[in-house]
Structure formats: structure tokens, C-alpha cells
Subunit: 719 residues, 2 copies
């Protein structure tokens, strides 16, 4: 074996000399690349991963952990560890309290719960990965590989981790015809047609990637659900996917259309209080659980944007959710009921409606219901304040919903690392308190369950995953999947640290280059805010497809579909007054927060026009007028977007030719589209303000009519 | 270099010892796998491909040839040939008459034309690849690699080839929203949204695959075309693709919607004889050719299945085609005008309509128009007789259209090698003669231009290519792309030889295994005919999606959409009388052919019910009644489908685990669906014949109503 290992070392060295096309990467391996290490690093890994010791008759989950360790060590060193019966120097030992000998058993294992793990050196040269369950062992195996992949010396790995949220779930907005609503990474990864017979290898790689982050649930279909998903053929397809995902600790969930039994013509109503309806759902749940014993439950979008729901029968959201919850409760399932509702006939500020609807229902939901609340009160904008429901429903488990796919932030074309956006929401001070506590809670603490006793906690991310070779439509969009997963495990983690961890595994560990990539990522989302919606502007994008600027749109059927509803710009000023002189949406926040945001002088500049309508000559902290500040922000966004391009160009020596070029091509588009956003928005706001452009601000490249005439048929992701 | 080469040899040997997942293949490399050779074979290739000699300042096309040779030799031997200035032993010399020294110039180069090539040993150890153009050199390079890849010793390669058809074109039925009509291999490979800025690496690999077969044209969009494809943004996208494909000898074409100027509101009519319309198309052609100087031309589906066309203005197909032809003629473009027409208001046998419409127009088309005729008179059925237009339009270039995607032969799920289907059409005797000839012409000879002077000849294949990792939705479907390309180069080639060539490059060269794979391929299409539409039955599949059996359908708006229109089964018998006592479609064939098919006794059994309506007790050559024969054929199909599965299982030792399993999963589905076809069809035909099942024939697994109730929402490929 020794001579082979030497030869393989030579092989790996040679591989570096192969022609360019052979070295190029296509991104499919995500952050699980396990590329060859060199010199001392390689030797250290070899020394600490010579053998693997696992419980006898390993479960499929332990088998997955062992396979991943073999794959990783093989990739990094050229030599896979061998199986061993007992721990000696060079061993990685995977074990639960039942299987570990006392000498190798780390302390306080019970506190790890069902999914935590510990990695510890328990004897000279012996690394123990311990957990209470096989899933914990799998997570530990991935953690060991992540540590090595980010440059931690194998003898220094000492990690203990327990997830802070129970449900860490991707929401796939994937349709049964394999299109994906708001998908920018090709068609759905679920080949529904070929299922259940054909199980693509890609499903396993999807499971590996999620397990590496601790994501433990996947809602397979669009929240705008079709009734067919709950028919026998689709239950069989779902069961096949569940079989593939199960060893990786991932449960499947389905989005359910509230009117399913009625539309399948199996009941005469969908009224949640009608006994026949409740009975239908109980039978349906039984049928599903017979095929999928660990089925997670249902995600429901009801009475929102045209979807059916309990209000069609004058029942409340709680009535609807609880009826479904009763159907899955005997099987241990949950219902994730979305709070994203706004109604056609409701003239109230859209930002208020979810709170108005749901806050009064606090305490009325069954114990296995989570109310799933978007990060902000409108809809996944480049920047929103946190949703006022966080902290305001102390008797109800709230599940936070982020959008990983970039519906409003440049699709998969623009580089926008969402870690800072996620972190901004999670670290927002709600001004609300836990029952006995003195200090106020952050959003993270609220969803971690500080207010609600019991185990139901969770975070959902609308997936950016498709059949594209890159999975996410671009290399950098993989970081958003990664960041969601890591923050779902620990909502108080640092988005910068996560960026560093991701980039080290994905691109390079050369410190200077890594620093530059992380800095570029950390700047990217703010660049998008600046060139799209600075100073608290929101919802001024193109109709339907949501691509590009369209602040002028004023002719859509419902007022709150129109960008003019949100910016309200005219000769007198710009912005949405959500204070007591306006919609008073502010009153939905805790008094301390509301008070701070009530005054433009104490409102963060980043949210100014979200909460306030102000005259164009309103003085800004910079000394500029609001109008000049707005122009300056748009200009800054363009400069930042161009900067991303320049900074990436300088990183060419550190990234393989293919991935570098693929990122660069998108950054070219981003720079051009940043200019387009800036030009179109300034042209429009100038036309309504009637003001000359501030001194030094270049006029837009085209007249306003040019931008208004642009059309984008066949834009992706729009049903 | 010598020691490296040894080391790399060792590397390759080691690679064979790597764990299973590392060796597995996903099919992306198609037949261009260039996997490591061993021993004497490797040494022989190394000896004959040490250096590459090319003209100075090589064009992008020559560069592509050199890159491919380097990639191939590197893959097969571990060592890439180096560039050399002059030919010595071990050199491969690429040259045109202008660049080759006389001693290395093979004879009769002029006869190679624009695309032919010759590969010849011109000095000891010196291989010359010669052609008149760089494209010829590229084809020659691929031919050399194909020869080596199929096991020809490098010193034995002696090949001279000239394509027999001028236009060898894929028709992509790809929509602008990236769906693919009748696509079963994922979404379109064209990422229209990201174009022209982002040029996927996959486009280059697509070009390489096509160039390896000599395919020299691609119609990028669906024949059911949208007007937007001819607007400026899409011309720019098309130009970007043309730039990628050009070095590989591939021209781009577009499908044009006949009413485009009217629908874009740039004219008030689409009447082909209106001067403003002709002028619009001339301007549009000029605009396209400014962006794409070598644009191929237009493909048009007009007055067919709801598409607009010249008949909307009481003009003929020739009027329409010639108007478009005039627009592209100054630029050297062509128009491919489809003869696939049938009209809602026409009560005539659908099989007759294309001939009725087009034959009288013979001689009326402009010289740069080809009339594109499907292989058979209905629509890409598992078996059809050849189309009667072949040979019947001696003054018009006819382009043959095959369907590579398996709309009617089990999508990408069923294994059906189409080589024999293509060959069957091409070798059909038309009974028509060339002007001065004594012998009748085959379809191949007709499309090769035996009747029409001048250079316009061609073959089109409706592509089965998508974004699936396998390109074609399954590994074996790649063979259909391959076979189309090779037959477009030489319509008289053997489909069996092509299967062998493909399988040797794609799976294995172990003779016994190769024999088995080829045999399995050669049997596969007949199996599909047997379990779907034996004895000349046709068009009895499911409505719309065309999946599965539905011979009972009788309620669709147009008679010729209904399966019952085609089989006409009732108590009295089954089959479509197309003789003089029936629709007399037979009269469209040459007298010799018509005479043979007029009598059931001289009609090939395979086409019996295509041409004849016969009583259930009609005696068959086997001695069985027609009813018993029909049942026997369905049973045979099921047996054959199961046989494919068994035979493939035995090939496990010769194919990597992943591809073997992926094929096996589909063969399981095929066997089950063969049974379904057989059961549903027998149940239905029994219900209309009123006859008991023939002795020994097992009853269908389910009652007829079960099959009739099956529904397939969200089936792929159906718009």
C-alpha cells in the first residue's frame, strides 16, 4: 500500500500539469470538492484518516457517513481510509453511546440531542466522532471534512455542535411539469415523469449537499400546489424520493392545495369544518404515511394570491391549519402554514395584512402547526425590515422563511451573497421579550423558541436548486444555499465566517485570494440594494417576471401590484408613510422599535423610504438632499457592480479557467444591468420630481421612454 | 518526457483500481470518451500520434481539430501529442493542397469537394489527414479518432470519405421559454435568457459531437415558431450561438413563423405576394446576415396544424417558399419548406394530403428551396411505408426528415435503436427512375439528388438533445443521434455497422459483449413495433402527449386525430383500406410499388393493416388468423421487451455500474409498459371484434375500463 500511495501522490502532482481543460471544474461538486492537498497537509490528513471504525452492521446513514469520509480522504490524499475493527492511531471512530467503548466516549453526549455531534481526539491519533443517532454521526463526518477542507489541522479538530432549530427545510417551488416558479437554475431536479422507477444519481448528491449543512427537510413541490401531488401515482414518486433522502437525515414534505379533495371530486366542499373534509384528509394522511412512514407533513399557502383556503368558507387560518394538523398528528407530522397573505379586496397597506390576519390567532393553532413567516412584511425585497409578526405571537411557533432563489436580486445572473441579508433579519431586535426575560429578543431568538415552550422551531428557504450543472445557476449562488443551511443550523452564526468557510472549500485557501473573495461576497448584496432599491425603496421591479426596473408601472388591476403604490413619488416627494400619519404599519412593531422608526432622523437610512414619505429636498446625514442622495446611491451601486467585476478579474490566478470565466460573464451582465437600473430609475424619478439632475450626476444613457418600452418575453421562472 | 509517460501509464492502470464511484460514467462524454487504452494498443497510438503538424496560423476550425486530437490521444494514452513544424515518424499531418508538401499530398484531393477528407499513410510512420477545407480537416481528425476508438490499428487507417448530402441538419423543436416540444431529455440546451452574454461550455461540446458525425447545420428553434425569434434581441442570441458553432462547420438556421411581420405589427398582412411583405423579409434577411454572415436560412411549417401560411391568402406553398427564398438568396441562404400538411376541412385520407398538395407544385419552387418530407406519410410512427413524395417530385430537391426524438416510440424511456427504421426508409425502392436511368431509385438515391441536378440535397433529424446530463435522456438514445448523423453523411450506410461503431466507442470493445449490445440494439425497434403497432397499425397512442395505448379514442374534434380513424376496427375486421376500393392513397406510389401493395398477399406483413382492411379471420402466412396473429405479435413484443432486460443484465461485467443501472431502470419500465400496451390493445380489439382471445393467449391483466381511465397529466414534451 505504501508504494501505491507514493505513486498516487505523484499522480496528483501530475494532474496539476494536465492541460487546462482537464483541470477545469463545472461546479457540480459544490463545496464537497475534496481536491488534492499537497505536502504536509496531505501527510497530516493521511496520518489521521488511515482507518475508519464504525458500529457493526452500519445503517444506511452510517454507511453514507463512511462513504463520504472515504470519498473525501481519497480525493484529498489519493488514498481512501480502510475499514478497521478497532481504534488505533490514525483511526476515525464513529460511534454512539451504545457502540463506543468508555475510553472513547466523550462526555455529555446526552446534551447533543437527536442531531448534535462531537468530534474529539480521545486517544493519541484517534479521532472520535460521537453522536446519539446515526444522523448525528453523518453530520459529524461532514463537519470533520469541512474542518479539513477549510484548513484546520486534523489534530486540532475539536468541535461540538447542536442545531438550534428543529426543522431546517428547503422549499422547492417546483411544479409537476418540471418547471420551477422563480427558478433560475434550469428545470426541477425532480424528474417526476421518470419517478418512481428511475432514481437519478443527482438525488443522492442533493442529499449529500444538504446533509453536509444539516438541512433535514425538503418540501418537494411548489406552494402554489396542484391537486395531483396528493394522488396515488405522485405519492409513489414522493416515496421513492423519500427513500433516497432518508439515509441522509432528510424528511420529505409536500405542499398541499387546500381544495384538493374538492378538486379531485372526492368531496363536495373543502370546508375545513365539514366532517367529510377532515375525514378525507385523515385518510389521505394515512395513505401517505403508509408509503412514507417518516413523512414530514404539509406546507400550505392558503387564501393568498388566488390560492384556495379556509376563508373561502368563512373559516379562519387556524381552522384550516388545525384540521390538516389533526390529520398528520397521529403520525408525528407537522403543518407549516404560511402567513404570506394579502387580499384583493383589502385596501389596507399590504405590509400590514399578514400581521392583521395572524396576530389575533396567536394561541389558536394546534401544537403541530408552525406559522411560516417571510423575513420581511412585503416579499423578499433586496432589503426589508424584519416582519412585525416576529415576537408578536408568543404562543405560536414561528418558522422563518427566506428566499434563497433571487427572484428580486438579479436571478442567478447577479452576484449577491445573501448571508448578510439573512443575518440582518436574524439579528434584528424585535423589542419583544420572552416571558421571564429582561432583555429583548432578536428574530433569531424568537424562532429559536425563546417565547414558545416545546420543540417546534424551524427555518425555511425557498430553494435555488435546479438541474443546471452548477445546481444554483451560477457558482456564487451556491453560497446562498450554503449560507441558508448553516444559518438554519445556527441562526446566530456570522455570515462573514460562513462566506469564508464556503469560499475556502469552493475556490481557494490561498489567504490573500480568500480574503478578496470574502470581501467581494460581503459587499455584493449592498451593491444590489444600491443599484436597485436604495434608501428603503422596494417593489419597483418589472411586472410578472420581476426582472429589471419598472418604477413607472401604475396600470395593474390591484393597487398593491403597482410599483407606484410602493414609492409614491411625485413632485412633492417620495416614500411610503407607514407612521401614524400614514398606514401606521409601524404600530405592528414593539413600541421601542416603532418609536425609533417613527422619526426620519432615528430611522436607519437604509429603511428611510420604507417608513417615510419625504420631500425631495429633505436633508440627509451626508448633507445632500434626498434627491441628491438617491442619485448618489444609484451611482454607488453602479460603481460597486463594476468593482465586483474588476475585483474578480484579479482573482484569475486562483480559480480554474472555466469557473472564472463563467463568473466573469455574469459579472459583465450585472455591471450592465446595474447601469440600466440606475438609468431607468433616475430617468423616471426625475420625470416625476421635475427636478434637474443633481450636479455631477450623469444623465441616463437613454430617454425614459426607451426603458419603459423594454419587454422580456420568455423570462425564466415566471409561470 | 519518457519517464512521465511511464508514470502516466501507471496512473491510468491505477485509475482502474479506483473505487466504483470514481470510475462511473454519466454519459456526458457521448461517444467521444477517449478512455485509456492498454498495452500494445496504447503503444501503437502513442507511436503514431507523437506530434501534430498543422498549417501555420491555424484557423479556429483547424485549432478545433488539433484540440480534439490532443484530447483524444491524451485520454487514450495519457500523453498528448506535441506540435511540430515538420513531419517525422509519429506525426499526424493536417493539411490542405495549399499547405501540404507534394510528397505528403494524397492523390485526387479535388474530388473530396468542400467537406470530404482522406486519411493516408504517406511516409513511414506519418499519417496525413488531407482535405480541401479546414472543415474537411476537422472531419478527418474525428474520423481518425473514431477509427482508433473502434479498434483500427493506427497504421491501418486508410479512409477516404465525402458526404453524399449537402445539408445534414438537426431540427431542434426548442421553444424560447426553454421547453422542448416532444423533448424527453430535459429542457433546451439553449439558455436563451442568458444569451448572448453567457456562452455555456455545453455549446462547444454539442458542436464537437455534431462535427464528429459531419452534422453541419442546426435549426435552433421549434417549427411551431414564435415571431420573437426574428426580433433584434434573439438575432443577437442566435449570432452568439453561430459564433460558437462556426469553427465546427455548423451553420445555424431558424424556424420562421410565416406571419411574423404581421404579428410584430410591422406589416398589415403576411400575404407573400404583397410587396411590403416581401420587402420586410428582405430587410429581415439583411439584418440577420449582418449579424451572421453564414446564416443557413429558414425552416418553415406553414398551413399545418394551425400554423399560418400562404394559403391564408389563397397563395400556394410555392408562393410562400419562393418569397422567403428570394430574401435569403442574395446571401446564399436556403429555405426548407415542410411538406407535413393536413387540413381541418379536408375529408381526404390524411396519408394522401401532403402528396396532393405538393406533387402538383413540382418545378415551381425557387432553386434555393428544399421541400422537407417526413419519412412516412403520417407522422413518425414506429413503422410507416416511405412517403410517396419521394421520387414523385423529380424537379424539386427533397430533404428527408426523420424524428430522432422518440415521440411515438417510448420517449427516452424505451430502448429503441432507430438505425433500422432510418435504413428501412432509405433503402425503400420508390419504383421511380432518374431521367436517363434504367433502374429504380431508393429513397436514399432520391434525396442524394439522382433526379434533380444541382447541389441542394439534405437530411433533417428532429433532435433528441436536451440539458439532461446524458444529452438524450438515456444512454442508448445517444445512438439515435449518432445514427442520424452517420446516415446523413452516407444514406446508404448500414445501421448495423453504425450500431457497432457507436457501441464500441460508447460501451466496450470486448467482442462478445459488443456483439450482444449490437444485437440487442438491432432487435429493439422491432420489439417496439410489436408491442405498440404490429402488422401496419399506426396512430393508436394516447391523445396529446402520445404516451401509451389509446386505440379506443373516438371523440376528438377532427376525425384524423382519433385512433379509430386509423385502425377502423369493428366486428367486421381491422385496418385502413388505402387501395382503390378505399382512400386509394396507394395510387400516389409508382405503379410497381402500388401494384405490390394493392394485394394483401404481396403486401409485406409489416404494412398489412396500413394498406388493407381485412376480416379478423383473414389467413396469415403463419397459418394463424389475423386476430390470432395480432395477439401473437403483441405477445412477441412483450417477450422481446423482457428479453432486452435479461440480455442487458448479462452485460453488467462490461459496463460501468452507473450507466448499467441507469439503462436497467429504463428497461424495467419498458418491459412493464410493453405489457401495458399489449394488454390494453388486446382488451380493446377484443371488445370491438367480439371474438374470444385466441387459444393460449393470456387475458389482459385489467379490464378495458382500467386502461381507458388512465391519465397522464404533466407528461413531458407536450406544450
Amino acid at each position: 500500500m505504501k508504494s501505491w500511495s507514493k505513486l498516487l501522490g505523484a499522480v496528483l502532482a501530475l494532474a496539476l500539469l494536465a492541460p487546462a481543460w482537464a483541470q477545469e471544474e463545472d461546479g457540480y461538486d459544490l463545496w464537497l470538492r475534496y481536491r488534492p492537498l499537497a505536502g504536509a497537509e496531505r501527510a497530516a490528513v493521511l496520518r489521521h484518516a488511515r482507518t475508519l471504525v464504525a458500529p457493526a452492521a452500519p445503517s444506511p446513514t452510517v454507511q453514507a457517513a463512511l462513504d463520504e469520509l472515504r470519498r473525501g480522504v481519497q480525493g484529498m490524499t489519493g488514498r481512501a481510509p480502510t475499514a478497521a475493527g478497532r481504534a488505533a492511531a490514525g483511526a476515525i471512530v464513529l460511534g454512539t453511546p451504545a457502540s463506543l467503548p468508555a475510553a472513547l466516549r466523550p462526555s455529555a453526549l446526552a446534551a447533543l440531542g437527536r442531531e448534535g455531534y462531537v468530534i474529539r481526539r480521545m486517544a493519541p491519533g484517534v479521532t472520535v466522532i460521537a453522536a446519539n443517532t446515526d444522523t448525528g454521526l453523518l453530520y459529524g463526518a461532514f463537519a470533520w471534512l469541512r474542518a479539513v477542507g477549510t484548513g484546520v489541522a486534523p489534530d486540532r479538530i475539536d468541535e461540538r455542535a447542536v442545531p438550534k432549530l428543529q426543522l431546517r427545510v428547503l422549499n422547492h417551488w417546483d411544479n409537476l411539469d418540471r418547471t420551477v416558479e422563480r427558478g433560475y437554475a434550469g428545470e426541477s431536479i425532480w424528474d417526476w415523469w421518470a419517478l418512481p422507477d428511475v432514481r437519478e444519481r443527482r438525488y443522492v448528491d442533493y442529499a449529500r449537499a444538504n446533509a453536509s449543512l444539516g438541512i433535514n427537510g425538503a418540501v418537494l413541490n411548489n406552494v402554489n400546489a396542484k391537486p395531483e401531488i396528493l394522488t396515488a401515482p405522485w405519492i409513489a414518486k414522493t416515496a421513492a424520493l423519500a427513500d433516497v433522502l432518508r439515509p441522509y437525515g432528510i424528511r420529505v414534505y409536500l405542499s398541499a392545495r387546500f381544495s384538493t379533495p374538492l378538486e379531485l371530486q372526492e368531496t363536495d366542499t373543502a370546508d375545513p369544518l365539514a366532517p367529510e373534509v377532515a375525514a378525507w384528509w385523515r385518510r389521505k394522511a394515512d395513505e401517505i404515511y403508509r408509503a412514507i412512514p417518516d413523512f414530514g407533513g404539509f406546507l400550505v399557502k392558503a387564501n393568498s394570491e388566488g390560492q384556495p383556503g379556509p376563508q373561502d368558507y368563512r373559516r379562519s387560518h387556524a381552522d384550516g391549519a388545525n384540521m390538516l394538523a389533526a390529520a398528520v398528528a397521529p403520525h408525528g407530522g407537522v403543518v407549516m402554514w404560511r402567513a404570506f397573505v394579502y387580499a384583493a379586496e383589502n385596501p389596507v397597506d399590504r405590509a400590514r395584512q399578514a400581521y392583521d390576519e395572524f396576530q389575533p390567532l396567536d394561541g389558536k393553532f394546534a401544537p403541530n402547526v408552525l406559522v411560516q413567516v417571510k423575513n420581511g412584511p412585503i416579499d423578499f425585497q433586496p432589503r426589508e425590515p424584519f416582519h412585525p409578526l416576529f415576537g408578536a405571537m408568543p404562543k405560536t411557533p414561528l418558522m422563518l422563511e427566506f428566499q434563497i432563489t433571487k427572484e428580486y436580486l438579479g436571478y442567478a445572473t447577479h452576484l449577491a451573497y445573501l448571508g448578510p441579508l439573512f443575518e440582518e433579519t436574524l439579528r434584528s431586535e424585535t423589542g419583544r421579550k420572552a416571558a421571564q426575560a429582561a432583555a429583548g429578543l432578536t428574530v433569531a431568538q424568537v424562532i429559536e423558541g425563546a417565547q414558545v415552550p416545546g420543540p417546534l422551531t424551524g427555518m425555511a428557504g425557498v430553494a435555488n436548486i435546479g438541474s443546471a450543472r452548477t445546481w444554483s445557476g451560477s457558482h456564487f449562488d451556491q453560497a446562498n444555499w450554503y449560507a441558508f443551511g448553516r444559518l438554519a443550523w445556527d441562526p446566530q452564526a456570522s455570515s462573514r465566517a460562513i462566506a469564508r468557510e464556503w469560499a475556502a472549500q469552493t475556490f481557494t485557501r490561498v489567504p490573500r485570494a480568500l480574503d478578496d473573495i470574502v470581501a467581494l461576497m460581503m459587499d455584493s448584496r449592498e451593491a444590489v440594494v444600491n443599484y436597485m432599491t436604495p434608501l428603503g425603496l422596494h417593489h419597483i421591479m418589472g411586472t410578472g417576471h420581476h426582472h429589471g426596473p419598472a418604477p413607472w408601472v401604475a396600470d395593474l388591476a390591484r393597487p398593491e401590484w403597482n410599483p407606484v403604490y410602493y414609492h409614491k413619488a411625485d413632485r412633492g416627494g417620495i416614500g411610503f408613510d407607514r407612521t401614524s400619519t400614514g398606514s401606521n404599519a409601524l404600530a405592528q412593531y414593539a413600541p421601542g422599535v416603532a418609536q425609533r422608526y417613527a422619526d426620519p432622523r432615528t430611522t436607519p437610512e437604509t429603511l428611510l423610504l420604507w417608513f417615510h414619505r419625504l420631500p425631495w429636498d429633505h436633508p440627509m446625514p451626508s448633507g445632500r438632499t434626498l434627491w441628491a442622495e438617491l442619485a448618489a446611491r444609484y451611482d454607488l451601486g453602479v460603481t460597486q457592480a463594476r468593482g465586483l467585476r474588476t475585483r474578480w478579474a484579479a482573482l484569475a490566478p486562483f480559480v480554474d479557467v472555466r469557473r472564472h470565466a463563467e463568473v466573469a460573464a455574469r459579472l459583465d451582465v450585472q455591471a450592465a444591468e446595474a447601469q440600466w437600473w440606475r438609468d431607468a430609475c433616475l430617468a423616471y424619478f426625475q420625470s416625476v420630481s421635475g427636478l434637474p439632475l443633481p450636479p455631477g450626476v450623469r444623465p441616463p444613457a437613454q430617454p425614459l421612454e426607451y426603458y419603459k418600452a423594454l419587454r422580456f418575453p420568455y423570462a425564466p421562472g415566471h409561470g
